[in-house]
Structures are given as C-alpha cells and as structure tokens.
Subunit: 130 residues, 6 copies
C-alpha cells in the first residue's frame, strides 16, 4: 500500500514539475534517499493527492507559503514552474506576489518578484509560452 502511495506520488509529481522536477529529486536522492522518498510518498502521494482542493489552488497555497518564508528560493522556483505547467497564468503568479506584500512585507515580495522574473526568463529561453 505504501508502494502505491509512492507510485501515485511520483506520477503526481512528474505531471506537475516534469523533467526539471525529476532532476531536483535525483539531487536530493544522492544525499538522502529517505528525504526523496518522503517528498514523493508523503508530500505528493499523500498530501498533494488529497481531494477537497483542486491542484491549481494547492499550488497557490504552496507559492504563498514559500513567498512568506522568504528563504526558500529553489522550492519557490520549482513551484512557480509547476503552477505554470498546470494552467496558472504568469499574471496570476505576479498577482500572488503583489498580494503577499500585505502579509509578509515589501522585502519578501520584492525578492519573490526576482525569483518570478528568473523563472519567466528560463521559460522564455526554452520557448515555453506561458
């Protein structure tokens, strides 16, 4: 059954983050295979696979939380890519950053904006439209 959680999680993870996500995961796996397992099995097989909140809203939750933490740049990048991959627009991402300045202040919003900019540029270079 746990095996199934892993498989369900891996499919969910791959569908959202694609090849970029897989390479991040392999990097984690090199230092701590168990941490990589928890990401897939618990974070994606369990939490992300829950009903009751659609996947786009889940990514909005994740991006809002990561922007508020303010020190989680690699994870913020992954989740912005993921949100765009599953149908968020670039404008929606920018609106989340602007909304967050109310709760988390200008510095976190501005540093979040810089990360957003870098993700947009990475996607432009690869010819990804949204």
């Amino acid at each position: 059954m746990t095996e199934n959680k892993y498989d369900a999680g891996f499919n969910k993870f791959k569908n959202i983050y694609g090849e970029l996500g897989i390479s991040v995961l392999q990097n984690v796996n090199q230092t701590s295979p168990d941490m990589a397992k928890y990401i897939i099995e618990f974070a994606f097989g369990e939490i992300y696979s829950r009903k009751g909140l659609d996947i786009k809203s889940r990514e909005i939750v994740s991006i809002s939380s990561l922007l508020t933490l303010g020190n989680a740049v690699p994870q913020l990048k992954s989740h912005i890519h993921g949100a765009l991959n599953i149908g968020c627009t670039r404008d929606e991402i920018l609106e989340i950053v602007i909304q967050i300045l109310l709760y988390s202040g200008f510095p976190n919003a501005l540093n979040g904006l810089q990360t957003v900019k870098e993700v947009f540029e990475e996607r432009d270079k690869k010819g990804i439209n949204n």
Copy 2:
C-alpha cells in the same frame, strides 16, 4: 481620487468581512486612524481590488501566508471568516491547513487548525451554515 480608493476599499472590505470586520477596524482606528486608513485605502482599495486573481484565490493566498507566519491569530481568524463569507467551504479551509504543513511544519499547521476550529465554533453559535 484617493477618496475613491478609500470608498472602493471600504465596500470591498465590508463585503468580505461584514460587521465583524468593521468592529476590528474601529478598534484599529481608536489607536491609529492612519493605520485603519491604510488597511482600507491600500490593502483593500488598491491590492484587493486588483484584477487578475479572483477574490476567492486572494483569500487563499492570505490564509496561506497567515498560516505560514504562525503568529497572526487575529488576522487569520478574520480572513477565515472572510473566505467562508465569500464562498470557500469549511473543507477547503481545512485542506489549506493540511497543505501548509509541508512548507511550514506541523506546529504552524496544528496551531492554525486550532484557530480554524474556533472560527467554526463561532459560526456555529451564530447559526451560520458554512
């Protein structure tokens, strides 16, 4: 024109938070009228009134950010009430709390859950269904 921002903000604010929100605002106004003005004029007249992200998604952003901060209980209460007022379901609120534990850890999620519980109880007492 700024006057209009205030009016637009106040209407937006009242529509989301109702009488409970107004009483919070009056409390702020007693100590700092300018802070109360910034909440209405900037936070609601300017940011919450922006296009590009629907109001339900904006409340999801706010609640996610407040849960991540972990020390903003009165604001979290107001925004959970607001989110329920404008159409979020109780299940969706619970899902946001569960999702947040991935980024912000169990303690913030558990303390957020306690706040959610108190809001649900307040609404039950007043006979509000959702």
Copy 3:
C-alpha cells in the same frame, strides 16, 4: 503496512507523551482526523521511529527547533514533557534554552523559559519528580 506504521507510531507517541499526549491528539482528531493520522503515522511511525539518532537526541532536536520558531507554545510544552518523561533532566532543558539564545536571541529564549517554568510547575503539582 501503513496500518503498521500507525500502530508503531501510536506506541512510540504514547510511550513518550503518555495520557497528556493522547488528549492533545484527541483534540486534533475532532477537527481534522487526517491531521491526527499524519502526526501518528508520519511524524511518529515514520520519522521518530527512524534509527540513527537516539530518542533523547530527537527530543533535543525538537525542543531546539520549537524554541527557535518561538510561536509554538503548545507543541513546546508537549515536547518538554516528553523529553522529561524519557530521561532528560530539568537542568538539561534549561541548558537548551540558554544555548538557544545564541542563535535565536533573548526574546525567544525568555519566552521559552516561561514555557519551561509552566511545565515544571505542572509536573510539581502532579508530584512528578523530574
């Protein structure tokens, strides 16, 4: 197999936190049965049951992290009780608080000390020696 994780986690949890822990868990279970399940199954059945770091050191990690968060008073209380239950001394708890002021500053250390004081008083009232 997941069932086993739950059972293993519940035993681990009960051994550390005793009746007080069970009542906290029941409170969580009332609002979110899934959150209660994740605490037992993931936090205790999975993470706390890992080899490679003894249980006393794990509680030192938990208390240090909770003191640093600074806003997780109920969880800090539970883990101080737990640490004392499994063999930490009161002096060791106080030393963790003093050590933490270097990394997290005086306010977090002083507020942590207040929580420690309250736990010690609860245990004194119940006639628990350590």
Copy 4:
C-alpha cells in the same frame, strides 16, 4: 571586572525600565538565575552600555526588531515602556509601528499596535503622562 559589568548593567537596566523591569527580571531569576545574569551583564552591561549610538536610538532598534519578530509581546511591552521612560513620545512609537508594516507586513504591525495600545492604557491608569 565582570562584577562591574553587572553593576553597570543593572543601573542601566533600572534607569530605563524602572520597577516594572525589576519585577520582570525577578521572575526570570526564579527559573534561571544565569539567564537573569546574562540579561544584566551581557545585554545591558555590555551591549546597551556601548558608545556610538544614543540610548533613544538603541530603543528604536530594539522595538523595531521586536515588532519584526512578531511573537515577543512581553519584551515589546517592556521596551515600549522603556522607550517612553527615556524620552520617546507616544507619537514616535506609533510611527515606528507604521514604518514597520513596510518590511514586516500588516499583521505584525497590527498586532504591534495592539501591544502599543495596551502599554498606553497601562500608563494612563498609573497617571503617567507620556
């Protein structure tokens, strides 16, 4: 020589916070005499006694840092009292709170405002003018 640091720190501490400060210190001393000693000897005998920044500016630094932490209410109260005792005006305290919303967001500013309000009321009750 360390003895002198303690004496210098205690005088500095008493001059800023008065009787209220002493009672806070005695409370700390009951649970951890060494923590109380570090507050006097290191925080006040060493850091607060440094040249190069006047005492009023030091209190502005402390209050700004405590507002930003957002979870240090007892310490924030003590330092607002201290700042008012040594010549800050109530208006200046309110301006610090408003300024802080730019960096730390509305929730921390609003919760800080609530603490400021309580300190003002405590002083009004005791008939203290500023």
Copy 5:
C-alpha cells in the same frame, strides 16, 4: 492627488538612495510596474513622507527590521547606503548590527555584518568617505 503622492515619493526616494536606488527601481519596474509604483507611491510617498519621526530614525527602523528578517540582503544593502547618504555614520550602522544580536541572535547579526562590510567596500571603491 495620487499623482502628487507619486512625485513626492519619487523625490524622497531619489534623495535617499540616489542613482543606485533608481536602478533597483527600474529592475522592479521591468517585471512589475505596479510593484514599482507601490514602492514609490505607498512606501515613500505615504509612509516615508510622514511626520512624527525624522528620516534618520526611519532608516534605523528599516535597517533594524531588515536585519531581523535576515533574508532580505538586497533591501538591507539599499537601506544601509540610504542611511549613510542621509547622515548616519558607519559606526552607527555597526552599532545597530551589534544591538540586533540581542533580539535576533548571532547568525542574523553576523550575516548582517557581512552585508555591511560589502556596502562599506562598495563605497570605498567609489571614493565615498562616509
């Protein structure tokens, strides 16, 4: 009237941060013109232009808050430059960093010190004396 807030804010901003500030602002403007507008119109036209606290004290508030956040290096750099531009001494900046270690711990103070060092070196290279 909002137009005037923008103009007042821009003059205030330019007077404090000079050319370096303008280039930071242009970078923000490329990704989010509205965020750049909020910085000028709200942060500087509204908050920084308030009476009741002198501009040097406002920069002390900002630097203390940014040091406490600990993850806002680009903003900390800008505000250290700004504080020095309007009359703070290098020694006063160093004293703020030392004072902050009491509330925010050694790591934030040490990383803040590293940022201060880099700002001092930038100014030395440009032949700016203070």
Copy 6:
C-alpha cells in the same frame, strides 16, 4: 577575569572548529572586532563552556536552531563541521535534518540538506573521513 573568559572561549572555539573556524573569526574581526570578541567571550567562553549539557548535545541544539532559522547558511556550515569534528557521525547530521522537517517544513529541510551535502564534499576533498 573577563580575559580568562576570552581565553577559555578561544580554546573551546579552536577545539571545535579548528583552522576553518579561526579564519571565519578573523573575517568578522576585520569589520567588527567587538563582534568577534562577543563570539569568543560570550558565546564560547560563557555559554558553550557551561556544564549541564555535553558538547555534542550543544552542537545538536545549534544545528537544529540554525536549520530552523533557514537563512543562516555560513553558520550552519561551521556548526556541521564542528559537530563532525567532535564526534557526531554523518548519519546523525542527516537524521537531524530529517527530524527538523516535522517542525520547520520541507523547504528548510531540503535547503539544510544541500548545505550538509556541501560540507560532506568539502571534507571528502580534504580527505577527512567522518
């Protein structure tokens, strides 16, 4: 007597962090000799030299706090080196990171893991076995 605190602190510091630590300290000393003095005299001469908690447990406290802060990479590196120098195993360090994800979330744990990986690689390059 303070002189003795400095000497005791310096010996303690050198025994834990070795040459790498000394070079970090010299860097701090260039910008702020007093900050360097406080690290040695207060952090190591006073706090780290206390009885009541063994040195390995103190490093576990430090690493747990630094992982939870999430933005203190240089200090985390130093303390991981220190912990390994005084007898922690690499596996124990990895277990602390995994344990921390419960309280501080996946992003802090994953970024902590990256820092751990870099420390392990630095030690491998220098031919240090543990």
